[in-house]
Subunit: 192 residues, 2 copies
DNA sequence: AATTACAATGAGTTTAAAGTCAGTGAGTTT
DNA sequence: AAACTCACTGACTTTAAACTCATTGTAATT
């Protein structure tokens, strides 16, 4: 059984992670521990009670983020979805985390190495699911003879491009505003 | 006529810009003025004789970079190239600046606003040329009925994805190693 | 009830970066 | 050739971030 202290500690840890998530989503990963502490309503030192370094905080945050994405996608793969439904679901998941995800793909190369590994894992889960759906779809729809990794990378490439250049397309959420267009045209591209 | 001093000053300015280019290409835009001064073999203060702030240095560097890319591409558009040749030429230009360009697309969102404008200009030049080539190509080759901006964005999306995730594909230059594959499959995608 | 453990605090330390400026000596002007 | 100008220098200042630690008060243990 958990003591009051343990409960309190875990709660504080979660508050810090949530605050960091929000700060990073809004400001990018250059947000400081001062800002995070203020947002979490804890003192600066408390952050270092829970996380030895900022890098460690980022890695923990990314691991949590990865699990959450994973969960969302697992629910999807159980159903026997069409390609179109899957792509829509993928975008819908990303919309939930849009600001944070945008910062992540844009700044991943300046994050600690371990963070990259976590990110690669996230990508491979998506890759795996898309792979399955495409294989299934090939029986129904005529899909071009193009290597699977190109099919996958051009999908991710397209939506990452829209995300990192959001400001070129809309003032609001680029995924919300261009979802249908992206899915429709991407399918046109890979269909024979 | 230029005095010795003017010549000297311009030379120093160029040396600093070149050193900054190299440092940013190798280390990303978190490279410091100390590093740049060392690489340029000038004292720290000299940088601020030529550029009032680091942001200004970055903007000047990007403007020069933009002009260079522009020059390369203008030479291309004069000739009546095929789509395949144009894409190959585009990649070849990027290969010349690969490390720097990689950092640029990956960190553009954390650079000063003015830098973004310069970058948008660079993109639109490429967009304009690709547009022309595609329009011309439509007569020869059956290209899908997909909006031009999707055609353009999926090309840039694809190569930017390969560039920012270079490490997933190869230890060396991803453009050199995957050039043919990228061009070939991209054309397959947009062709009817 | 007394003692011990520890989560949280926030002022203080360290570090590293950008930016400043008086001084120097070679170049330029008169 | 004397007076002046200015590119360049590098030690210094400022700023802002991460990280530390003695102290405090509440929870847990004895």
């Amino acid at each position: 059984m958990k003591t009051k202290r343990q409960i309190q500690k875990e709660a504080t840890r979660k508050i810090i992670l949530n605050a960091a998530y929000q700060m990073y989503a809004n400001e990018g990963f250059s947000a400081t521990t001062n800002q995070i502490a203020k947002a979490a309503n804890v003192s600066h030192g408390t952050i270092f009670v829970h996380f030895p370094t900022v890098d460690n905080l980022i890695i923990c945050l990314l691991e949590r983020f990865g699990s959450e994405i994973n969960e969302h996608l697992h629910l999807l793969s159980e159903k026997d979805e069409s390609l179109e439904t899957f792509l829509a679901a993928h975008i819908n998941v990303l919309i939930c985390y849009e600001d944070f995800y945008k910062r992540l793909i844009s700044e991943i190369n300046s994050l600690p190495q371990e963070a990259k590994y976590v990110f690669i894992n996230i990508q491979s889960v998506v890759s795996f699911h898309l792979n399955q759906v495409i294989e299934r779809e090939k029986e129904k729809m005529a899909i071009k003879e193009i290597p699977m990794h190109i099919i996958f990378n051009s999908w991710l490439g397209l939506i990452h491009y829209y995300l990192t250049n959001n400001y070129l397309f809309t003032a609001g959420s680029v995924l919300t505003d261009h979802k249908d267009e992206l899915i429709l045209n991407y399918i046109k591209l890979i269909r024979k």
